[in-house]
Amino acid sequence: MVEEENIRVVRCGGSELNFRRAVFSADSKYIFCVSGDFVKVYSTATEECVHILHGHRNLVTGIQLNPNNHLQLYSCSLDGTIKLWDYIDGILIKTFIVGCKLHALFTVAQAEDSVFVTVNKEKPDIFQLVSVKLPKSSSQEVEAKELSIVLDYINQSPKCIAFGNEGVYVAAVRDFYLSVYFFKKKTTSRFTLSSSRNKKHAKNNFTCVACHPKEDCIASGHMDGKIRLWRNFYDEKKYTYTCLHWHHDMVMDLAFSVTGSSLLSGGRESVLVEWRDATEKNKEFLPRLGATIEHISVSPAGDLFCTSHSDNKIMIIHRNLEASAVIQGLVKDRSIFTGLMIDPRTKALVLNGKPGHLQFYSLQSDKQLYNLDIMQQEYINDYGLIQIELTKAAFGCFGNWLATVEQRQEKETELELQMKLWMYSKKTQGFILNTKIHMPHEDCITALCFCNAEKSEQPTLVTASKDGYFKVWILTDDSDIYKKAVGWTCDFVGSYHKYQATNCCFSEDGSLLAVSFEEIVTLWDSETWELKCTFCQRAGKIRHLCFGRLTCSKYLLGATENGILSCWNLLSCALEWSAKLNVRVMEPDPNSENIAAISQPSVGSDLFVFKPSEPRPLYIQKGISREEVQWGVFVPRDVPESFTSEAYQWLNRSQFYFLTKSQSLLTFSTKSPEEKLTPTSKQLLAEESLPTTPFYFILGKHRQQQDEKLNETSENELVQLPLTENIPAISELLHTPAHVLPSAVFLCSMFVNSLLLSKETKSTEEIPKDVDMEEEKESENSDEENDFTEKIQDTNNTDLGEDVIHQLSKSEEKELRKFRKIDYSWIAAL
């Protein structure tokens, strides 16, 4: 495909969805959330991502609906711009360049042409809330430099600022005080709570704030779990507050319902609390939400709530406190012990997820497929409690078996260890617990591997442990007289001079097992479990061990802690070569002989791809990440790529993903991320944007036929049929209120014409361009048709045949508009 392009390290999904409060569209059909440099638009009904708004060049830090046009969305970013989007079509309308890093965005309906952003100018921890005047201009990029400071010395988090009573005042909290700025009076009131000097009030810090939509009431959340409701705050002396206390840990976020009749709060308890009438005794709970609630937002229509959780999840909750949808990204809450694995069945990435769970994450669609509950225990969220950790996991026998190890170590001598073996059930399409082994070893299990040879008749698992033994577990059918149930039992225990077993791995054909005991590598025959051979390099403990594949299967590779990478020839039982390389991650590609090794010199990480048989690496890329790379994995491609350049050939059959210390999932790619968005989701959007009217059914049928035809014709590359929603005449017809439409008789021919297919194909590119210019002129005249013209611009470069139809229908459509204008004026005259 695009061979000339360089390989770049790209972030592949898995970015935080819970960075800021999610925002609902006015009709609650969509939910927007910031996700790295993008804004994602999800459907609240289907949980599907319908658009990714990309355009920002740095982290997006805030999104808000345009209060004057609820079909538009503002976003701000650290790159210093505010962008206005048409989220229905995913089009960037305007960019306002502010120039300094923007940390949060607020909009107020009353402030017509300005928005509020948080900036910091001087010191790193001192932020200001400023209002930015957005100049009215038709050009795509506008400079917005007119800033005026509203509040100084505020908190960076947007949760600490709230606008109340239709923009009459703004409340900001920081540390121990609440400041309220009144826009009309231009005064600031400040209320301070007694601080940590008094032990009783040690955790009085403010954490978040929310304003009542109807009344003058400010709710503030605190570190000690209290919620204070402030009233009468226009008077610095007569102010008063009430306390609501249920949370035992800090209140993470607060939100009032649209009518203000109830207050929602959430925190580390993972319970959404609804305080009705703001009274302490009248509260409802939605418990067991899985993870800390980071943000709460309320839809403007009032029918939905949504909570963002620390496990990178957004939950959409009905007004009656029933969870209706979950948008789950890659869970990045905790440290990854299991490493990256690929589920051979679903090709999903498997790693630690929620506490005690394995998550299956689809790399293609950037969403979590499902969670497998390994621990099967209620998670107790308490600071300082030592939890059971899921430390190891491995897939075996083409995804038929899964082995997991969990451990909990409170003291040096008290180790709780459990190994579980899960069988894939075709019936339930999931893993079912088969065998639970309590204390499989006396000490921590360091490695776990299945024998994945195709010819092996009996599933075999090997565990290596710090207690100096490695154990071989096999599947037997000895559990009852019918010999139907199967279970795992220990078959062989091996050791070598009481050294700690650190690694184990099977050769590709399953005939040899390599187990490393600290500095020594031992080779065992998998038939008889006889010690065949030992290698010892005296170059430090073995950190990684793997066999070569395919043509290189006669090689065994070992990387030590002292920075030596050795390659042994199994036929000659001698060292083939060794190199000085401090290997952090070593992963063999299952589809080729290639092995990827990531080394870590003093700063950054370097990637080396090599074949064991060749001393020269195939590919070197230095500085793939600034941080330490912790895990890597090769993911087989569904459709092999065809890079001809020698350096990129290693990417043909598999793709390499790696995870850094800060848990960003990165990969190598030559494509731009925009191409990843599947066309199905775009169609999904189109379907949803239509209201369910009789027209919809007609059009829906029509489109179905079209789609069928499209499928038939697409192979023959015939003229593509236009999509009905792109025809201006129809959309105009559908969007014009019925009472101002001209009579149906008048419209009929026009409507039918617009649906007809034109036979002749004009290959004139100028015509649509001319029309475009006209359109632009028109759009300058009337603002409301702005997005409409954008739509047309977007569709212009799709197909020629379509253009013709557009062109034909546009003249009619102008007529239509004239009617519309006339009719409006007629109404105005009334």
Partner: protein, 667 residues
């Protein structure tokens, strides 16, 4: 010795105290507060306790307990109210309405309302009528005449007892809280206009009964009720409908008090929490206002039986015997005296007297007296040590009163051979004879008729004279000799006034007697020549030292103390030393040393470490010790020994009934 040398002496006394403290049992202070009534005119607070005691606190004078009326077993007060300005009425379960004489400190009259036990009482806004709610469901209206009250008429009788009453500020309607419903009466016709049924439901569970513990009628026609289901409810009295309901407690809400401006009210719950409600505007630019619950205060461990709302503070009292005065910060102008939370537990009176010669202490309880001999020690130790006792304290005497009345006052003579005490109707004098370890008690019979009741009793230093302040305002001097007594003289009050004397003091040589009464004047009598000298406050002749003090002013921290000084004494051998104490601290003032200015440290809680430290500390006149909490009594026993009596609050709380159990998070 240096002036701070009083420390080892007090340490010795502490040894004695700690020994005795274990065996203390007593009811003093353990009588729960039942009602409080605030008088706006005089800024005074009347407090009644379950044993029938009524106390008057002066809120202007640093919350000092000015007056008290002794309790009576059968007079359990249920309601207390001020009427006609300064007149105080109470009503109780014995069915009587009582008016108190605030000058002579006795009961003016008691009148039976003939409706069974009285549960509630309210004075009309015009102050001319008194309303009582009785057990039999009747509401009775009394007319207040200048010297009595007179029954006027009954309102429509209700089915069950009337537990709470409130007048509409215009005086045309009243609201009466009963069991399960609230009635609104028209005062003119005396008939019930509305009957508002209170929901029995409590958190989804139906309780047996819903008792309306309190009602408040606001001028806009709103009736606020508090009930046993933990609700505070707002009713529209015009239509008889529920407007709003606040569920605030899991237990009963027992009391309510509304501010005069009707912009805030306070309720007390059985969980010991006091909630403040305020009327705040809904938005800044609208006139619409709403009641919101604002701050909860948890100063009590037990039921808050009663609350009051003064213009600047919230006052609450309950089963845990504390009277808590919580100032409203927004009403207090500057941060001073008045901005501090007050918790008054102990009476501001002397309940303990001591015989210096025989090292005896006499403790006064509600219905008995106890006489103890102090232990002693021969050991010596460092400053701050608790020394072991060589001889334990002895409980010598337990003297129980006859009859239902509480003891008003008691005293033991300095020689230890006389004990005198008085109840509201009888005066008792006993002579004690000591024969080795045995003790012989003999009542002196045939007390003269004028010695029927005493407000204060004092013996002269040489134990030969007994001074008695009677409740008629007269001061009697009685000569004691051997086993008999002789009435020497009676100082009659000035003609026309019936002012009761509450405080007595006698000079060590026995020549001068000082007395102070309810009107804050000091009378000095020459006992020998039987003449009266009066020093009223304005033209008092101050000593040079007090003139300096007046000129110099006290240390600002000293002025910020908020507890009244309960006892002052002088060191007999060191005339420059003044010893004084209140409930929280003990202080020696050395008049020979310069007064502290605002920059010096007034109080140092740590014991002196070395000589230079002692030097630095003795630089100013005030020596303060705060180790005793709370300090009930302290006096010099001899010139090297101080006796201090502590009353640990835990002991009092241990005697109380258990509070409502509340689940505490994390336990």
């Amino acid at each position: 010795r240096s002036t701070s040398g009083a420390k080892p002496e007090s340490a010795r006394a502490r040894g004695a105290r700690s020994e005795r403290g274990e065996r203390r049992e007593g009811e003093r202070g353990a009588a729960a507060i039942r009602c409080v009534a605030y008088n706006n005119q005089s800024n005074r607070l009347a407090v009644s306790r379950t044993d029938g005691t009524v106390e008057i606190y002066n809120l202007s004078a640093n919350y000092f307990q000015e007056k008290f009326f002794p309790g009576h077993e059968s007079r359990a007060t249920e309601a207390l109210c001020w009427a006609e300005g300064q007149r105080l009425f109470s009503a109780g379960l014995n069915g009587e309405i009582i008016e108190y004489d605030l000058q002579a400190l006795n009961i003016k009259y008691a009148m039976d309302a003939f409706g069974g036990p009285i549960w509630s009482m309210a004075a009309s806004p015009s102050d001319s009528q008194l309303l009582v709610g009785c057990e039999d469901g009747s509401v009775k209206l009394f007319q207040i005449t200048p010297d009595k009250i007179q029954f006027e008429r009954n309102f429509d009788r209700q089915k069950s007892r009337i537990l709470s009453l409130s007048w509409h500020p215009s005086g045309t309607h009243i609201a009466a809280g009963s069991i399960d419903y609230i009635s609104v009466f028209d005062v003119k016709s005396g008939s019930a206009v509305h009957k508002m049924i209170v929901d029995r439901q409590y958190m989804g569970v139906s309780k047996r009964k819903c008792i309306v513990w309190g009602v408040a009628f606001l001028s806009d026609g709103t009736v606020i009720s508090v009930d046993s289901a933990g609700k505070v409810q707002f009713w529209d009295s015009a239509t008889g409908t529920l407007v709003k309901s606040h569920l605030i407690a899991n237990a009963d809400v027992q009391s309510i008090a509304v501010a005069n401006q009707e912009d805030s009210f306070v309720v007390g719950t059985a969980e010991g929490t006091v909630f403040h409600f305020q009327l705040v505007p809904v938005t800044s630019n609208s006139s619409e206002k709403q009641w919101v619950r604002t701050k909860p205060f948890q100063h009590h461990t037990h039921d808050v039986r009663t609350v009051a709302h003064s213009p600047t503070s919230l006052i609450s009292g309950g089963t845990d015997t504390h009277l808590v005065i919580r100032p409203l910060m927004e009403k207090v102008e500057v941060k001073n005296y008045d901005a501090a939370l007050r918790k008054i537990t102990f009476p501001h009176r002397r309940l303990i007297s001591c015989s210096r010669k025989r090292h005896l202490l006499l403790f006064q309880f509600a219905h008995h007296l106890e006489l103890w001999r102090l232990g002693s020690t021969v050991a010596t130790g460092k400053n701050g040590d608790t020394l072991p006792l060589s001889k334990n304290a002895d409980h010598l005497l337990y003297l129980k009163t006859k009859g239902p009345e509480n003891i008003i006052c008691s005293c033991i003579s300095p020689c230890g051979s006389w004990i005198a005490y008085s109840t509201a109707s009888r005066f008792f004098l006993y002579r004690l004879n000591y024969e080795h370890d045995n003790i012989n008690l003999k009542r002196v019979s045939k007390m003269p008729a004028f010695l029927r009741s005493a407000l204060q009793i004092l013996f002269s230093e040489d134990s030969t004279k007994l001074f008695v302040a009677s409740n008629q305002g007269a001061l009697h001097i009685v000569q004691l000799s051997g086993g008999s007594f002789k009435h020497l003289h009676a100082f009659q009050p000035q003609s026309g006034t019936v002012e009761a004397m509450c405080l007595l003091a006698v000079s060590p040589d026995g020549n001068w007697l000082a007395a102070s009464g309810t009107s804050a004047g000091v009378h000095v009598y020459n006992v020998k020549q039987l003449k009266v000298f009066e020093y009223s406050i304005p033209d008092k002749h101050y000593t040079d030292w007090s003139r300096t003090v007046q000129k110099h002013g006290f240390h600002h921290l000293w002025l910020q103390r908020d507890t009244p000084i309960t006892h002052i004494s002088f060191h007999p051998k060191r005339p420059m030393h003044i010893l004084l104490h209140d409930a929280y601290m003990f202080c020696i003032i050395d008049k020979s040393l310069p007064l502290p200015n605002d920059k010096t440290l007034l109080y140092n809680p740590f014991p002196p470490t070395n000589e230079s430290d002692v030097q630095r500390r003795t630089a100013h006149a005030f020596k303060i010790s705060k180790i005793y909490k709370p300090l009930l009594f302290m006096d010099l026993l001899d010139e090297r020994t101080l006796v201090a009596v502590e009353r640990p609050l835990d002991d009092i709380i241990a005697q109380l009934p258990p509070p409502i159990k509340k689940k505490k998070f994390g336990t």
